[in-house]
Symmetry: C2
Subunit: 303 residues, 2 copies
């Protein structure tokens, strides 16, 4: 845990500064819009995705300065997804990280636009960064394709849509196999895609070999799924106050690993996935220390 | 009008086919999400933005095949903006182009996600296209930067936020000069930015000179503003049924050129801007015939 804790302590403030700088108020923009974007992007949180960008870059021997802006861009996409997820028409959450959600403070219209603005700006930042670090055309486009595919309908947005469709499935007495497949789809896409894309962004900017990119993708897939299962377990078993979340996901109205398999089986599956994540890092040797630490953190944080 | 009409007749179907192909249903995505995206992206409309991409490419001597996908991407961004604008928290519109709006058919949650999905996919398409047409790194990133800047908080999203903030300003008896500045900002950003970006996309993909790019930007700025003013005029004076819109913009609750300056002064301003737009095309000679036709169309369509 010390290597990971040190890493986060070093890089989380770099991400915060980068976000603060990129999102500084501009005279030519509506002030409330910028304020709403800053409110959510600078609201703290684990900064998992940017940390993954830095950790993947380190594993591939790439200097952190080369990936700082891409790390901030991934965090903006994460922040936008939380703003839209919290909207009354979606999960209808009043609190996020112990603070009122974006639409509670700025109103629904501004919250929708703040999310749209963060998503759009993330691509501007990615394109600007690729140009400024002298990435070749193929890699520059590859970076943006990878992130947009992961954030879009074949990734995060698709996972969120499936999650909304799945609400109430439990009460409709769907078959257990159908529920399990649905749940896996949601977890892999809603959270997993952007986690994998963060790792891949580090690899692309490091100009890592295809083998290393594939290994980081496999690691990310296992990590993301384990992370989400652990989150389900925490929602049921964890200290709710400590996480700053209100209650569980609509208290069993939603499909979760814990509600489908039970707490113990869910914990076991998370441990199995984390063991797999460790194996995918073999290629990187000691440089992957932080990524190993992250995998352990996913299952350790609930006790 | 014949040159323009022929051009639209030739290229609008190409855009429709490209959108239909890019947005074809995929097994791995939630079906309702894809259906919601197709509903709005394939709902017809003027296809102004993609036509501008083709027209700018033609003015710069670039083959249409090189810009077809970028044209479809710009139309996806336009479609996303309409879906989000129509939401109950925003303009709360029930009809668009004579059909029920996206959230009326698919529900608010799916409409928000369909918009998010279209915006995100547009950048994936732009990055994929830049790679497939062999655009150099600087131009590839430049294309995505130009479009994202125009669609984001310094462009379209900023204009929409300003529009929402401005609601009710008229009743608050703000000064006429303040209202005029605010209105100009909204028009230039909410509609103008993406129109300019469409022209610039054609120029970037054509690898046009900086002088030509600048001329197309100036033309786009004038065209976009004239287009919006003409829209205001049409809302008041035009045949509402023919446009498939419900009433005017909340009948004078919203700030418009027509409500601020009166119909005649608004028409005059649109004509002045169109005259300027024509002048910016001098550089392109006969190749700009379609762009000249478009400028005329903006003011001709109300009589």
């Amino acid at each position: 845990m010390t290597i990971l804790a040190d890493f986060i302590k070093r890089y989380a403030p770099i991400v915060e500064r980068e976000l603060d700088r990129l999102l500084r108020p501009r005279a030519e923009e509506p002030a409330a819009l910028r304020e709403a974007m800053r409110y959510s992007a600078l609201a703290g949180g684990k900064r998992l995705r940017p940390v993954l960008v830095f950790a993947a870059a380190e594993a591939c021997g790439c200097p952190p300065s080369r990936v700082a802006r891409a790390a901030a861009a991934l965090e903006m996409i994460h922040a936008y997804s939380l703003i839209h997820d919290d909207l009354p028409a979606m999960d209808d959450d009043d609190l996020r990280r112990g603070k009122p959600t974006n639409h509670k403070v700025f109103g629904e219209a501004m919250a929708i636009l703040a999310g749209d603005g963060l998503l759009t700006f993330a691509f501007e930042v990615l394109a600007g960064n690729a140009a400024s670090v002298g990435l070749d055309a193929k890699s520059a486009c590859g970076l943006i394709r990878s992130v947009s595919a992961a954030a879009g309908t074949r990734g995060m947005v698709g996972g969120q849509a499936a999650d909304i469709e799945a609400e109430g499935l439990l009460s409709k007495r769907s078959g257990r196999r159908e529920l399990a497949a649905r749940l896996r789809y949601i977890h892999l896409h809603k959270t997993g895609s952007l986690i994998t894309a963060s790792l891949e962004a580090g690899a692309i900017l490091a100009k890592a070999s295809p083998g290393r990119r594939a290994a980081l993708r496999s690691y990310g897939r296992a990590l993301g799924l384990a992370f989400q299962i652990a989150d389900d377990v925490l929602d049921v078993a964890g200290d709710k106050k400590k996480l700053g979340k209100k209650g569980s996901d609509r208290d069993n109205d939603k499909l979760t690993y814990a509600s489908l398999y039970g707490l113990e089986a869910a914990r076991k599956e998370a441990r199995r996935l984390v063991a797999g994540a460790h194996r995918h890092l073999r290629l990187f040797g000691a440089r992957a220390a932080v990524l190993h630490g992250l995998a352990d953190y996913v299952i350790e944080r609930d006790h």
